[in-house]
């Protein structure tokens, strides 16, 4: 699905590096630098930059607390917030001028491999979080209403991350395609409308991905009395 990415060069002879991977490296480097700058300059009375970051983190904290409750959101905050920040920046990277024109820099989430990777990560995360609540509880969940449900519930575990991945990929890829088609129709002015819309949609998709992940997490770690 989608076009096949061009391999730029091979790392250690086995790992194929594509444009998406390069963009992800750039995003990771950017985030690391921002983290280091903020961490080294922590002050009692915050400046403009620190204030901005603090507001963002506080917003995310409140968001996950509303969905998961205080205890669980504190426990899993690092993973969920990192997922959100990575996806939103990866989505927005497609709007930067020049990205997507060459093979060297491409929006990562417009490729199915990347979103399926995120889906696999979510899958592993959900299983581990479920197992941490106790093996008995984890196994019992698959037989929860009646034992006939077992195959469906096992299938459901795989469908959840797959649908997350397909949703993210479809939205971002579809958006890029529509912008490109509009550009071919009328090059000046019209694509801007779609790009303004995609500013909204990119944030919404990142929100939906993390929101659904945390709802699944809430389901998995729920302990009934």
């Amino acid at each position: 699905m989608g076009e096949k990415s061009k391999v730029l060069f091979s790392l250690f002879g086995v790992l194929d590096v594509t444009g998406e991977v390069v963009t992800m490296w750039i995003i990771l480097a950017l985030l690391t630098v921002i983290c280091l700058i903020v961490k080294c300059n922590l002050k009692e009375r915050p400046g403009v930059f620190q204030n901005m970051i603090e507001t963002g983190v506080e917003y995310l904290d409140n968001f996950f607390e509303g969905l998961l409750g205080r205890e669980k959101s504190r426990q899993y905050f690092t993973f969920l917030a990192s997922l959100f920040i990575f996806i939103i920046i990866a989505n927005y990277s497609g709007l930067v001028p020049g990205v997507g024109l060459t093979d060297y820099v491409k929006a990562p989430t417009a490729s199915l491999s990347v979103t399926l990777g995120l889906g696999a990560l979510t899958f592993i995360f959900l299983q581990v979080a479920g197992l941490r609540c106790g093996v008995k509880h984890y196994v019992k969940r698959f037989f929860s209403p009646i034992f006939i449900m077992f195959p469906l519930l096992v299938l459901d575990e795989f469908i959840k991350p797959a649908s997350l991945a397909l949703r993210l990929f479809g939205n971002v890829f579809g958006e890029e395609m529509v912008t490109e088609e509009l550009y071919h129709l009328i090059p000046i002015g019209v694509p801007v409308v779609m790009m303004v819309l995609s500013i909204l949609f990119c944030a919404l998709q990142a929100l939906v991905f993390t929101m659904l992940t945390s709802i699944y997490l809430d389901e998995v770690t729920e302990i009934e009395e």
Binding site: M1, G2, E3, G66, L67, S163, L166, R167, F169, G170, N171, F173, G174, M177, L204, L207, V208, M211, L212, I215
Partner: protein, 75 residues
């Protein structure tokens, strides 16, 4: 001849898969707005539930869109 059929199939895939979710999303948004108007205090909870349900419906359209893209690639 063959590619013409594929093109029509791609158009039909996205067009038909848009119809159902569009109606469903309209109904969801309508009842969410009604309940916000009735109880403005609960607006925050209603909004997050609304976004989740809209996203789940959106997924159906997206599947149709992906199939349409796959078909278009074969024309």
């Amino acid at each position: 001849m063959n590619s013409a059929i594929i093109a029509i199939a791609a158009a039909a895939a996205i067009a038909i898969s848009t119809l159902g979710p569009a109606i469903a999303q309209g109904m969801t948004a309508k009842s969410a707005m009604e309940s916000i108007a009735r109880q403005p205090d609960a607006a925050k909870d209603i909004r997050s539930t609304l976004i989740i349900s809209l996203a789940l419906m959106e997924a159906l359209t997206i599947y149709g869109l992906l199939i349409a893209f796959m078909l278009v690639a074969k024309v």
